[in-house]
């Protein structure tokens, strides 16, 4: 059966399954050829349909998912080298290079930045809330925030 004989909904479902597979198996050594086969596509068609829908090739998408997961883990104060291997990168240097290209900061700089933001949120949370909302919720009436928390 050729691609054109399938109703379009089944085509979408197969691409979405592949995308969700990448979302949940990003830390593994994923063989994107296998994913194309599982979706009953030729590799060429799979990449083309995937890019049409998600704006990225499956490989580019996998890299972005790994970097976004790395950002989440760095926000939990995990060490950079641990994060690198946890999300499926094989070397700290390639991880750092790709992370900086996508995020604009090295993983270490991002970790430091997030630690500073977390500390500021805990010390002065009102600096992160528009005044009208803080006022309407009664948060500005408490003069010493640390006492409340």
């Amino acid at each position: 059966m050729t691609m054109e004989q399938y109703p379009k909904v089944y085509l979408y479902r197969r691409i979405v399954e592949a995308k969700l597979f990448i979302d949940s198996h990003y830390a593994d050594n994923i063989d994107l050829d296998n994913i194309a086969d599982e979706a009953y596509f030729s590799k060429f068609h799979f990449i083309r349909q995937f890019k049409k829908i998600y704006g990225k090739t499956p490989h580019q998408y996998l890299t972005v998912v790994r970097v976004e997961k790395a950002m989440q883990l760095l926000r939990t104060d995990l060490a950079v080298s641990d994060v690198c291997y946890s999300v499926g990168f094989e070397s700290p240097s390639s991880f750092s290079g790709l992370f900086k290209r996508i995020v604009g900061l090295t993983p270490s700089a991002y970790l430091t930045q997030q630690q500073q933001i977390k500390s500021q949120i805990l010390k002065t949370p009102l600096n992160f809330v528009p005044g009208c909302f803080a006022d309407k919720n009664g948060w500005t009436k408490k003069s010493n925030f640390e006492e409340v928390i």
Binding site: K19, L20, I53, Y54, K142
Partner: protein, 132 residues
């Protein structure tokens, strides 16, 4: 506009819905005192638009009675807080359905474009359209 509010029944459940199902990013998650939390999320391509997931609690903004009324209105699905758009409505529809998002209308061609309707975990409804 850089802030908009959506009233939710439970901020933990709303976090699960907007972040883990819709794929929104957490902008600020700040404890504001016992039982109080300032939680804002952003659509993935709009990091400067903070959507505040507002708890409905009696205090300054609501009285006990109006908070109860508001919660009932939210539960009934009274409010449609906005319109989202995506690159591919059919792929987004299939993915969100698979993640357990409740759609009240499947993607359908209207004179203004293709549109679907879905609800959040509290009952608020949203229109989902495709970028032209």
């Amino acid at each position: 506009m850089n802030h908009v509010s959506i009233f939710v029944l439970n901020q933990d459940s709303a976090f699960e819905f907007y972040v883990n199902k819709l794929g929104f990013k957490v902008h600020t998650d700040a404890p504001m005192g016992p039982g109080m939390r300032w939680l804002t999320v952003c659509p993935p391509e709009q990091p400067d638009l903070e959507i505040s997931l507002m708890a409905i609690t009696d205090g300054m903004m609501f009285t006990k009675e109006s908070a109860e009324q508001m919660r009932n209105l939210v539960k009934k699905g009274t409010f449609g807080f906005g319109v989202f758009q995506c690159n591919d409505i059919y792929a987004t529809y299939e993915e969100l359905k698979k993640k357990g998002v409740e759609f009240t209308k499947a993607p359908k061609k209207e004179f203004y474009g293709v549109e679907a309707l879905f609800k959040d975990d509290s009952g608020n409804w949203f229109s989902l359209g495709q970028k032209k």
